[in-house]
Structure formats: structure tokens, C-alpha cells
Amino acid sequence: MSKDNQILEEFTSKDYEHGWSVNYEADEAPLGLNEEIIRWISAKKEEPQWLLDWRLKAFRAWEAMEEPKWANVTYPKVDFQKLRYYSAPKQTKKPKSLDEIDPELLAIYERLGISLNEQKRLQGIAVDAVLDSVSVATTFKGTLAKLGIVFCSFSEAVKEHPELVKKYLGSVVPMTDNYYAALNSAVFSDGSFCYIPKGVRCPMELSTYFRINAANTGQFERTLIVAEDESYVSYLEGCTAPQRDENQLHAAVVEIYAGAHAEVKYSTVQNWFPGDKDGKGGIYNFVTKRGICAGDHSKISWTQVETGSAVTWKYPSCILKGDNSIGEFYSVAVTNNMQQADTGTKMIHIGKNTKSRIVSKGISAGKSQNSYRGQVQVMKRASNARNFSQCDSLLMGDRCGAHTFPYIDIQNPSAKVEHEATTSKIGEDQIFYCNQRGISTEDAVALIVNGYAKEVLNQLPMEFAVEAQKLLALTLEGSVG
């Protein structure tokens, strides 16, 4: 045990890799939150009146709401008046193409290992890069447009495809859905918009890379994915933030619409700054993600690898409205040091013969707390609904916690719901076995953890699976004996 703890100490002393920040001239909203600020943001983004009205309505609803307290996390109350709700790098003129973008901004992404240069990129992935409150670049727009696919920043979508935005915005996550969704609806700045027309299979991975750079600034992005009947898209988001002493708020909303026979695969590799060893700083990641399988035989699959953030509150969910629709949730959530995560999913079975599958792998190290919270709901009409849930927890050391909160609500007697849960400690036996074959303890931990999370990692697009594996190893480096 003593060796366990000693190695644990070493493991947890690893620094956050993306903790740097860059100074650039920024266009910022004044601190604080009120109607004026919302008007200011809306004006800045040259939005139509309907959207401003929508924001104001959300804001008034938010003001009357209470911060949710049910999650298994504790943190000091966020002072919403001390935050800044808009910060954007100053650009003298709007860039018309990638060549006109400020090289300094491109350099930020290069440093994160994300090239926005189409020639240098692998052909398989289109990227929308969001820095603080705005999207700075979207690649491969032209290539995608030929297929009728729209992939652009949210602000641009409001201008160029207002009818689509108006139709789907808030249709899956209503503005009053919850406290943070309401806040996001009032102040959201940018994010990605993606539209796949009927019968089109998107030929490349679409991805958004979120980066918070400015201090005291919250990031409130909004992502909307619409997959019309018989279409397919695979979408990935990645996130990092500088290392700062104060906590920063990230409250995003993601909405997915899938028509009949459409399939959307949404993958997240979340690596926001988790705070230091003593729990100082880090991102509060309060996110609402939900998809609706609106059409028959549609499918939405969430895959998440959560390694960052000081506090995570996140439940990517599926509303299985269409008959024979399928919802999936694959998650690896790693917490180390003082991190807290309360994450899981909701599967709401409305249509007949709907199926859902939940695979959650929690890994806790240091003094962290890791909770799985999941809800499976089978409505009256949903005959022959099926759910399989598997929630595994892996503990490293003896100062962390793993918790499981499953909720099951069945209103149709033909439903079949299975729930399996395991809790294990990473075994000294396993590590010694690896050691005896010449494998160092650190590599042994990486090997064992990646093996444990394999079922989830296998769901990620190839290129990101490799990244995620490295990230898991890095997050836990020094963590176990």
C-alpha cells in the first residue's frame, strides 16, 4: 500500500500539456451579465431580431431558475457577474479564405497540433476552430459544399442559413431545459453548424476544436448537427484551455437531429485544464448534449473520452422517438488529483423496438470523485424497447471515489433492460506481472487502463483513438503501483 501511494504521488505530479496562453488584442464584452450584455453580443454578431428575442427570452427564464444541486460535485458558487461573456481576437477585416487569417491565430492551433492549412491536413478531416467566443477558421468548406453539406461556424449559419437555424435551434434542447442550457441560450457566442442533406454520406470526419485563451472568460458554444433522412456523419470535438489559477466556466449546448435511417456519430475528447494538484483553477464543464432520433431506423452514437476539467457535469442523451431507432453512449471518464466528474447519459425510449446501449468506464485516481449517473426511460408506447448498460469503475489508490447512480423508469411491460456494474482496483498482481516481463510501472498502468477502456476507445475514429490512448496514459501518469 505504501508503494502504491508513493507511485501515486509521482503519477499525479505530471503537468498539463496545453497550459500555455497567447497574448493577442481582443475585442471583449464588459464583465457581467445583463440584458445590455446580451444585446451587445447579438449586435456584435450582427444577428437578426428573432435571435436577439430568443436570447432575451432565455435570459429571463434563466434569471428565474436555480443552479442545480443534485450532482455529486462540490464547488464554490459561480459569480456570473464576474465573468466575461464575449472575447474575440481582433481582426481588422473579416477573412474571406484561410489565407487571410491572422498567422498568429493559425500558430495557436499549430501549437496544439491542429493544422488549419488544408494542404497540410490529412484529407479525411475538416476542422472548425473556435477560439474563445468565435470561430476563426473552417477548413474544407468548399469540398463539402459540392455535396450540399454545410459545415461552418454557428454565426455564419445564422447569416447564411437562417431558415435551418430557426427550425432546429432549441428543438432538441429547449432554452429552458436546465439552468446552464438557459444560460447558454442567452449568451452563446459561437460553435459549429453542420447540415447533411438527404441521402448524403459525409466523406470526411467533421471536427471542431475548442480553445479557451482569454482569462475570466466563459466559453458558451453552441453546436447544431442536422442529419436529414438516410444521411451519415461522424463528428469530433476536442478542447483545451490555458493553465490559470481561477476557475473558468464552459457551458455548451450540443443538439443533434437525425432523420429516418440517418446516423450521427459524435465523439468528444475533452481535455480542458483540470486544475493543479491541489485543486486550484481548472474549467467548470457544465454541458448539455442531446440528440433526437426523430426518424425511424435512425441512430445516434455518443463517444466521449473525458480527461480534463475541474468539475464536469455532462449527460449526452438520446431521445429515441423514431421506431427501431438506436441510441448509444460510450464513455471513458478519468479523474485525477482533485477533479470531480458527474457524467452519464439519458436514453429515452419513445418509439417501438428502440434500442440503447450504455458502456461507461470510470477511472478514478488521486483524491478525485467520479460518478456515473444514467437514466433509462421507457415510455408507454415503446413496446419491445431494449437497453443494455454496463458501468465499470476502476480505482487507483485508496483516496479516490467511484459512484454509480442508475435510474430506470419503465412504463411498458415488454421492455428488456439490463444493467451490469463492476468496481475493481488496478491490481498489484497485474503490475508485477508486467514488471516481470520488463515493462515499467508507468507503461504497465497505461497498458492496463487502455485495455480496460478498449471497448470505448474502439468507437473513436482511428486517428483520435491513438490520441486518446496517449491522453489517458498522460492523465494518469505516475498514478498507481
Partner: protein
């Protein structure tokens, strides 16, 4: 190659080994026998560097180095291999992936280039024949759902891949049927060379019909109380351990 002098070891304060002396030279096969609880497996674990065993006295040198001073992984990289009595399962990690990680770390320690996928696979193919192991087994999660025989064969297969100088087989015969025993022993025999040595820890003489020892040592109450040739093993098989126990206990 290996010199053990007056080795004492304890588990949670209880002494198990009470002064082991043993000299193993290149090319030799030593069998360690003895009744249950005599300390056979403890000796194997102490040599491999398992954490729970505390060495309270004595010294062990391996190829001129202080073995007890090395971490378990460095002992392995120096060429000490332990075939486990109970091989550990690692879900989600294939034998192939596991072995490639191990082999390349060992090679790095020895100043050799890592093997690329092609060379690794051809080496694997070559060594697979030794223990008649199936490639399908190696793409499965390490030891997970393996039968007793498959686990032991996999241990010898790993030994073949890592090419150790000193192999310690800890009750490798336990749980093996006669065919598996033959296959495993065959593998071990083919790996023998004038430069390598083997320590076979076993309960029964049966295994020693296949892996013929140069020396047989009887461990009792944490000490080697009798040493001899393979004939000693036969004698034990015929007479049991009681006569040795009596001899030792009478002398105290």
C-alpha cells in the same frame, strides 16, 4: 550466474526463508522440491522482486550484479524470467500487444533497436512452434478465459520470446494434463543452452521426467535441507517427504 547466500525473507513480519544458499551455473538445471509451505514459491517470488516479500538478510548476485538492488523490471531486463504459477489476466490487452511492449522495453535496456511489426510477427511465428500455441490465442486478451494449459503454454511462449538467461518455473506443472506437460517441457528443453540456466520449482517428480535436472534440492522450513541428483527426486517420489522432515526435526 546466480549466487544466493544466507537469504532470509519474510511476509508481513512472518519469516518464510531462513537462510537459503544456492549456486547456479550456466547450462545447469536445478529443481527445488519440498512439501507445502516450505517456501518454494516464496524463493521464486523473492528472486523476481515481488513487493510483499521483504528480504531481511543475505545477498543474491546475478551475473555479478546485486540482484536485490534492482527493480523487478530491471531484473527481467537483465534476464531473469519467472513463469508464474498463476498467470495474471489483463482484460483488453492482447498477448501480442503485451509481448511487443515487453520485448521492446527489454531490447531498449539492452541497447538494441526496437523490433518493427513485421520482424516482431516473424519472431512470434518462429517461437509459437516451440509450444504449439495458436495465433488466435495470442490475439485474445492476455490470459483471459485461457484454460490452465493455455496459460502455462503462454508463459513458456513468453519465455521463448524474451530469451532470458535465468528461467524460474514456479509449479509450471500444476494443473497440466499429460499432453500439455509434454508440450511445455519440450518448449523448455529446446530453450536450454550452455549459457542459460533453469530453476524448476515443483511438488512432483513427474515434471522432472521431462525436464531432467542436474541438481535436486529439498526445501523445508525455509532452508535447503538436502541436495542431490535426479535420483533424489525419485527417492522422494517413492518415500514422500516425511523421512526428511524427521531427519531435520531430529537434528534440531
Amino acid at each position: 550466474m546466480l549466487t544466493i547466500k544466507n537469504l532470509h525473507a519474510a511476509v508481513e513480519g512472518t519469516p518464510i526463508l531462513r537462510g537459503i544458499n544456492l549456486e547456479v551455473k550456466p547450462g545447469e538445471v536445478h529443481a527445488i522440491m519440498g512439501p507445502n509451505g516450505s517456501g518454494k514459491s516464496t524463493l521464486a517470488s523473492v528472486l523476481a522482486g515481488r513487493e510483499e516479500y521483504e528480504v531481511t538478510e543475505g545477498e543474491v548476485t546475478f551475473k555479478g550484479k546485486d540482484l536485490l538492488d534492482l527493480t523487478p523490471e530491471d531484473r527481467a531486463r537483465e534476464g531473469v524470467f519467472l513463469a508464474f504459477q498463476y498467470p495474471v489476466e489483463i482484460p483488453g490487452v492482447s498477448s501480442t500487444n503485451f509481448l511487443r511492449t515487453a520485448l521492446n522495453q527489454v531490447r531498449e535496456y539492452r541497447g538494441q533497436e526496437p523490433l518493427d511489426a513485421v520482424k516482431f510477427l516473424s519472431l512470434m511465428k518462429e517461437k509459437m512452434k516451440l509450444v504449439e500455441i495458436d495465433q488466435k490465442l495470442l490475439s485474445r486478451s492476455l490470459n483471459e478465459g485461457f484454460s490452465g494449459g493455455e496459460k502455462k503454454r503462454n508463459e513458456i511462449f513468453q519465455m521463448a520470446m524474451l530469451e532470458p538467461t535465468l528461467s524460474i518455473l514456479d509449479e509450471t506443472d500444476s494443473g497440466l494434463d499429460i499432453d500439455a506437460l509434454r508440450i511445455v517441457s519440450n518448449g523448455v528443453n529446446q530453450l536450454k543452452s550452455p549459457d542459460t540456466a533453469t530453476i524448476v520449482v515443483t511438488h512432483y517428480q513427474r515434471l522432472l521426467e521431462y525436464i531432467v535436472p542436474d541438481f535436486v534440492h529439498v526445501l523445508y522450513k525455509g532452508q535447503i535441507v538436502k541436495s542431490g541428483t535426479k535420483d533424489l527426486a525419485l527417492e522422494l517420489e517413492a518415500k514422500g517427504y516425511d523421512w526428511i522432515k524427521e531427519e531435520v526435526d531430529a537434528a534440531v
